[in-house]
């Protein structure tokens, strides 16, 4: 019986040896350009969903996509949830309040720098060291850059999952649907070339739509 106990103990210890990082980091990019600001109330529900489902030790950041998104100033709120449920509960409430203020006071941006936002998201998530890395883009994916901005660079998204949410069709897309398709293909191609995996979610009403793949 003693032998059996020792073997079980060794087995248990060897099983415990695998201590990868199982925490999740989510970076949500909110498009604030043009008329897309009207969609931000819907985005707030998505943020609330992730606030409710993310666990202690997970990281969450929400940033705006504006004329120049590769900047810390564009991060509206960021948090790493505390180990203790009582503290993380308080953090979640504060986070929700910040987002609520932002959505109430947001002003439309003239341009849409998605690439800069992605680069900022990549930096932030890599710093967290999370095991599961998610970038969510709440945008119509139409990138418009101010003059002189260079966004022709390769992203490094190995191990990242990039999800496009609520990709609305523009008026021009209705005229020529291939424009919409080619826009989606452009981003998919760019993400996959950078080593990330691409998802697109337009039907956010499904129960499991916002679940993060592990």
């Amino acid at each position: 019986m003693r032998k059996g106990f020792l073997i079980s103990l060794l087995f248990l210890l060897s099983a415990c040896a695998s201590n990868e990082n199982y925490s999740t980091a989510v970076y949500l990019l909110l498009d604030t350009s043009g008329t897309y600001t009207k969609e931000l109330r819907k985005a707030q529900n998505i943020i609330n969903y992730y606030l409710a489902t993310l666990e202690a030790g997970d990281s969450f950041a929400v940033a705006r996509i504006d004329s120049g998104s590769f900047s810390e100033r564009d991060i509206i709120a960021k948090v790493k949830f505390d180990d203790k449920p009582s503290k993380s509960n308080v953090q979640k409430r504060e986070f929700a309040e910040i987002i609520d203020n932002f959505v109430s006071t947001v002003e439309s941006a003239s341009y849409t720098d998605i690439s800069g936002g992605l680069l900022q998201a990549q930096e932030y998530i890599t710093e967290t060291g999370a095991g599961y890395k998610h970038i969510l883009i709440y945008s119509d994916l139409k990138e418009e850059l101010p003059d002189g901005f260079n966004r022709d660079f390769d992203l490094e998204l190995d191990g990242f999952t990039v999800t496009a949410l609520n990709v609305t069709k523009l008026r021009t897309d209705n005229v020529d649907p291939t424009e919409y398709k080619s826009r989606l293909l452009y981003w998919q191609d760019r993400i996959e070339k950078a080593g990330g995996s691409w998802r697109m979610l337009n039907d956010l009403e499904r129960d499991d739509a916002l679940e993060l793949p592990k």
Partner: protein, 491 residues
């Protein structure tokens, strides 16, 4: 591929049939070699399988023997424990009931003495009638009395009156004596009753002793049978072991369920206590947090403490080192373990309370985020009772889990016998299968040879035809030579 082959065959029929014929001839001429090779291989395989089968059967027999020894050893140990327990009970009866026997004997003696004294008193009779009665009789018989002497008549008359008075007094004394005896006999009754009760209680104690001694006799008989290694004892032990094994498995499964429930009760609040929810591990393919591991550790610790407590209480005997401890140290350990258990149970109760608070805070957060959840409004249904029940469960479950030590012990004791018996059956089945396989291989060779013969049926047919032609020719030549010789012999 198949189509291509058929196309080629149709295109080159001569080459195909020529090749087929050559192959057929090659197979025909090498048939004896093939037959021998097939039979040798079959013999080798079959012999090897039979050998393995025999080895398995030998192993099975050895395991059976070993199992039997283990079973009897186990039964013997169990019976020794039963006998020890019965002796302990007998000792308890003797200590409890018969230790007061001298006092009881004293009481009985006192009652008997009192009864004897009363009995002696009842034997006292009133004083006998005075001697002058005889004198009166003598005077009455005098001759003058018969002659009607008035003096004598007067004396006699006086005497008569005195006698009557005396008689009345004697009768009164006698009656009083009888009444006194009755009173004495009446006063003996409580003594009789007390005596009867005292004797009855001794009788009950003796009955209890007799009952336990009868049980001891049964245990001793069974013990003797086990020692002798009788078939009946072995069968009984095997059956008992199987039932105990199944029952203990069932109880352990239920206890595991209880332990899981206990774990669920404390896992969430443990994160508030130890933190560490962010540090996660992969445990057997399941990602678990440090808080969950800590919760599971507490449940396991409770079970371990329970096992040790049961061991110290001599309810189980898995660890000889604990069972053989000095009684004084053992009692101290019992108290220490009990206090540990009490603290753990109190901690669990507190965690159950905290769990309720955390769950309520989560619900409130979800509600504030507009994701459903329960609104923190006043309700008619009291939340105190579920909270109190959860806290009570948190306190009680560690003590309930303590008793899992008993089925664990039974599982370990009977598991070896039951699993070994199953293994023996499996090995026996494997031996039979190997034997069947050996026979099948032997017969398969004959089948392969028959199939081989089908491939070379043309040369074989020719061989048969040649053989029969030769035999016919030989028979004909023999017949003609016989007829010729008979013609020569004819005159």
């Amino acid at each position: 591929m198949e189509g291509q082959f058929f196309n080629w065959m149709q295109a080159n029929p001569t080459v195909f049939f020529g090749t087929l014929l050559l192959v057929m001839l090659a197979l025909y001429f090498s048939k004896n070699g093939f037959y021998a090779a097939f039979r040798k291989i079959a013999l080798l395989l079959s012999a090897s399988l039979r050998l393995q089968s025999r080895a398995l059967i030998t192993m099975t027999e050895q395991m059976k023997q070993r199992n039997r020894e283990v079973l009897l050893e186990m039964g013997q140990a169990q019976k020794e424990r039963d006998i020890e327990r019965e002796f302990y009970r007998v000792n308890a009866i003797v200590d409890r009931d018969l230790s007061g026997y001298p006092e009881l004997q004293k009481v009985i003696s006192e009652h008997i003495t009192a009864i004897e004294e009363d009995y002696q008193k009842t034997g006292e009779s009133p004083p006998p009638s005075p001697d002058w009665v005889e004198a009166v009789e003598a005077v009455a018989n005098l001759k003058e009395a018969h002659k009607g002497n008035p003096v004598i008549a007067k004396i006699l008359s006086d005497l008569h009156e005195s006698v009557i008075g005396q008689h009345k007094q004697a009768l009164g004394d006698y009656r009083e004596g009888i009444a006194q005896r009755h009173r004495l006999l009446h006063s003996m009754m409580p003594h009789w009753r007390k005596l009867n009760n005292a004797v009855g209680s001794v009788g009950n104690s003796i009955k209890g002793l007799l009952k336990h001694s009868a049980k001891l006799d049964v245990h001793m008989d069974q013990y003797e049978q086990i020692r002798q290694g009788s078939e009946q004892a072995e069968r009984a032990l095997r059956s008992s072991a199987s039932i105990d094994f199944l029952f203990s498995v069932l109880i352990i499964l239920l206890a595991t369920w209880g332990a899981f429930f206990n774990f669920q009760l404390i896992a969430l609040p443990m994160s508030e206590m130890v933190g560490g929810t962010s540090s996660k591990f992969n445990l057997f393919g399941q990602v678990v947090s440090v808080a969950q591991v800590a919760g599971a550790f507490i449940v396991i610790l409770e079970v371990i403490l329970g096992v040790f407590l049961m061991e110290c209480l001599h309810i189980t005997r898995m660890f000889p080192a604990l069972s053989s401890l000095d009684d004084r140290i053992r009692k101290r350990m019992i108290w220490a373990l009990f206090i540990f258990m009490f603290f753990l149970a109190s901690i669990e109760s507190g965690l159950a309370f905290m769990r309720d608070q955390i769950a309520a805070a989560d619900e409130a957060l979800k509600f504030s985020l507009g994701l459903g959840g329960e609104a923190p409004v006043a309700s008619d249904i009291s939340q105190t009772i579920p909270l109190a029940a959860a806290m009570m469960l948190g306190f009680m479950l560690p003590f309930a889990l303590m008793f899992v030590a008993i089925p664990i012990e039974t599982l370990f004791l009977t598991g070896r016998v039951v699993l070994s018996s199953i293994l023996v059956q499996v090995l026996h089945l494997a031996a039979i299968l190997l034997r069947l396989l050996a026979n099948a291989i032997k017969n398969l060779v004959e089948f392969i040879i028959a199939v081989y013969d089908i491939f070379i049926f043309i040369p074989l047919w020719i061989e048969g035809a040649v053989k029969s032609f030769r035999e016919d020719s030989a028979r004909r030549s023999e017949t003609s030579s016989v007829s010729e010789s008979s013609t020569e012999l004819r005159p």
